[in-house]
Symmetry: D2
Subunit: 333 residues, 4 copies
């Protein structure tokens, strides 16, 4: 870490700061420029609070040289992590499609969707039971009953299941859920992340709507610091000024995260665009730039079936997308 001191800093002020760094166990290397003095801090700087340091009146600016994330960092773990989800491998060349409805609505719905997506090549089943909604007046999900129906679909098809958790208090209900999803709005719900770090569940963390990749990796670090190393990252679109699409899918996040971390990265084109017509091209693009998997919404209810433009695909549309994605995967070999 480098700290640049302001012009006019007194020797005494500088010395106080250096001594404080030494109490933090750091070596300090002083370099005097024409206008500025630069302090190079050597040792474990991960405990240094950059914002606090920058706020000091004698400090012009601070620059981290090492990344503040460790467990997720590829520098210390060169090989791709492969996550085993009840026998289904994800990452390190193992590409998987997670598919299913936005919300679990009924026994028939979830089992029917599960069977059809499985037939088209999906290897994991998703379904929302706890739904984070901007409005308290919107449907909040079937909760425990929804999870129960999802488990029934798992028993029926053998597909491991993925579902979102909203509070650590519900953890017991997720005992048989294979992948516990942390939604974009909870990406920095640190108490929830800590609780998941104390479990042995596979955790899928979605990037927050206005969060950077570094912040996403720091949230991953909350889980891993607790001892749980089975984490999957998910890019699902960020908030930008564009309004034709619901969010903006940041696909450069895929190769960039592959550089930064050894953990697998999946892409959710359904939420990112909010438009079913966009799912196919964006799923193909995600596969083409190296995503380890896709998360795609598929439904079979009549209201949506009437209208092919919903965010969710019909089973027939999903089958088509899965085939097109497979072609892209082949081209990459």
């Amino acid at each position: 870490m480098i700290a640049v001191l302001k012009q006019g800093t007194t020797l005494q002020q500088r010395q106080s700061l250096i001594e404080w760094f030494k109490t933090m166990g750091l070596d300090v290397h002083v370099s005097e420029g024409k206008y500025h003095v630069i302090l190079g801090l050597i040792g474990d700087t991960s405990r240094i609070d950059v914002e606090m340091l920058e706020s000091l009146s004698i400090v012009e600016s601070v620059k981290r040289i090492s990344e503040p994330f460790k467990n997720a960092n590829r520098k210390f773990h060169e090989e791709d992590s492969i996550i085993d989800i009840a026998g289904v491998k994800l990452g390190g060349g193992h590409f998987q499609i997670i598919a299913g409805p936005c919300s679990v609505e009924s026994r028939d719905q979830i089992i029917s969707v599960a069977k059809s997506v499985q037939a088209s090549g999906a290897t994991l089943l998703r379904g929302g039971a706890f739904k984070p909604r901007t409005s308290p007046y919107d449907f909040q999900g079937l909760k425990a009953d929804g999870l129960e129906l999802l488990l029934e679909a798992k028993r029926e098809t053998g597909l491991p299941i993925v579902s979102e958790i909203m509070s650590a208090e519900d953890l017991d209900l997720f005992a048989d859920v294979d992948v516990v999803q942390v939604g974009a709005r909870n990406m920095q719900n640190f108490d929830l992340l800590k609780a998941l770090g104390r479990t042995d569940k596979v955790v899928l963390i979605k990037r927050g709507l206005a969060n950077t990749l570094k912040e996403l990796l720091m949230s991953v670090e909350y889980v891993m610091a607790g001892g749980n190393e089975r984490v999957i990252l998910c890019e699902r679109g960020i908030r930008t000024f564009e309004t034709y699409t619901r969010n903006t899918l940041d696909l450069s996040a895929v190769p960039m995260l592959h550089e930064l971390t050894h953990l697998p990265i999946v892409v959710d084109p359904s939420h990112a665009t909010g438009i079913s017509r966009m799912v196919e091209p964006m799923a193909m693009a995600a596969a083409a730039c190296g995503a380890d998997g896709l998360m795609i919404e598929v439904h079979n209810d009549p209201m949506h079936a009437l209208c092919d433009g919903a965010q969710s695909l019909t089973p027939e549309q999903f089958d088509h997308v899965a085939k097109r994605v497979a072609k892209i995967r082949e081209a990459l070999q």
Copy 2:
């Protein structure tokens, strides 16, 4: 609510949609334009999910006419709400300053700061015990011990206290805390908001870093829908591309929120700018545009005292700011 149908929508598709609206208890008014058919929906549309509707293939676009928030809406509650916090009134012309350290660190620190800010005119004491930090390796607060010290400062000075909660599981610890704060990162932690809606605590909700005012008001609605009407809103800066300041204080939020809601709005210039030199001008600007209160960081620890540029003010600096703000308040009379 208005739904514009796409060109080429068949009569049968249109009829299906109209019937579905009727099952939702809405009257539908059809207006045929040259290219488009427009459906006007009359009745309680707050349960209609705009995103779902927009995603239908026959729907070109949807427009809400009424706001989706109700309890917080000034249209249904014309007078300013005045929140009584252990005898200290906020809102409706009652202006208050909440001051105190970012984190509670020791008995001496919190009591010393409390006394000095009280002497300068602060009427509420803030202090963090649970600290949401981007990194799991940063200081996470003194937690229960911190709250205990804060309560001691309250007993010593009589100042009502404000502190941040991060999980509903900690609610018991906040029994004697006067104002429970929900931080920016938890603004859409809906389970936490619901839990606070079931209490009789005053709740202060900070706007999320990339959230709109409508989303803030919908989060307020989560608390109010549970029966708790004592909510304070806080503007604390939003994320923009500017890097000289930590965040960008959105002061137009103050008069805009005053139009939209009857609840009081306070402004936190310390977090918004991250620079102590900016606290005075932004506190004055906030007062000038009608904020109901300010939330300002004040510290007395030696590391910061050395350096007058920290985000926190020294007690002397705070005293100066409080006097300048009082001048602005007088000019408004």
Copy 3:
């Protein structure tokens, strides 16, 4: 267009507004709801200024139903436009790669790069002569001399050339340039766009750093309204909060623009990411989601050759990328 009037609007105010619309040649359809009156405006509303209308005190909100762009609109021109650039076709299934150095630096450089990219499959040569730089102290390009060198490379290889213009005053210098590029910072330099609309040049318009697709299409409309219909759109990354990449490539813009307009869309992965390692995956993703072409930086100078991580690719790297992209294109058939 729909205008929703505020509650409390008097009959007289409403009537004044309706009469004003009639003087603009519009029919007005009045629909009275429970709380609001809605005016449906029928006729050519493209001359109505939405911002002005929204600012009126009796107007709650305004909604355009038709898009404000016409010449570029696919609704009025269903087939893909194919742009003929000195015999090279772009759009409607014709995929092309534009390659070349960021700046033209010398005769040897531009001719050497031109020959190597041509050998690898590029069909258009790019090279900057006028360089828009944030700082007046940065290199501003070789200007007229740079264009001269570029023309020499064109004569040598037969490749049509693409170069950026910064001011209408320089138009004469671009007489033999095949594609005139408008950079991101000039996307809303309306005088420049109007001047290009009066020429018969092919114009390539890059999306501004914080501009929406609608704004991009309105800028295109400035050129087309002048009578020049040969316009190419270019997605080159938008500004977001992410800092690991220079900008964020918005690939969902590709299928979305294909829906909205009949004009071809190319993608520039070099500027979007600012990192040469990201060019290959993002070029592949762009091809996979249906881009009509790519624009890629290739250099051969020793400073960059030393360092394989520059934004620009070496000729060898470009050859590899072009082959990988071709594989993706095959998979799409």
Copy 4:
């Protein structure tokens, strides 16, 4: 400037880079850390292209220590610049209000507005003759005729005038205009800025919608580097995700720019919010945080007069705002 080299950089690569810096006239100070080598560059680094440097494969990151702007920099010019505009002083304690209509529409309109704003205390008259509009189908201004009318209002009232230029080709028309305004969309139209740098006009530069303060100062630098030191900066709102207001007024830009530069800063609350009701509170807030002036839209046409909610104020409303702002100014003494 500091450049941090990547782990694994060879001695030879390092040496090549150091030699290249030396050819740029810089001294290089090498500091070897545990994992990284840091190069400190001493001398005039303003000509070093940070983006190019960062893109090199052996470079981990680069950090400027000195600001890249010079002429505008307060470090080299400690006292506030006071700009004399035909006898009206702005900056360094001289506070002025610029008022007038968005567009010049007729002789009667501009003279009537000019007289009324002068009576209320405005000291400069604004009026748009060349209007940058997103759509080519929107009103583009009266152009030369508009400037002529504005000059007539100047002769009638003695108020110096402010009007926007869109192209250097129109400079002759601005011969008698006192302040030439560069709009937000042209903030990075570098050819226009250079042309203005060669004149002796006072130039008012508006911050672009998604531009940082550093970029604004670099655009100022384009004008000043040409020899024209009479520049005024204008904060007029930036693009954020908030939709209740048209843009988000960034008032912390005012004290921050005062730190960074000696040039005066005015605030335009009319464009920033797009809502006349917000002009008063935001004008007061701007005055309270130290703005050197305000730019406010005032109209007198019947369509707007009917509707008090337009972005523009009526002369009566402006009179009220001017009085309230004066109260705030007094409180600051």
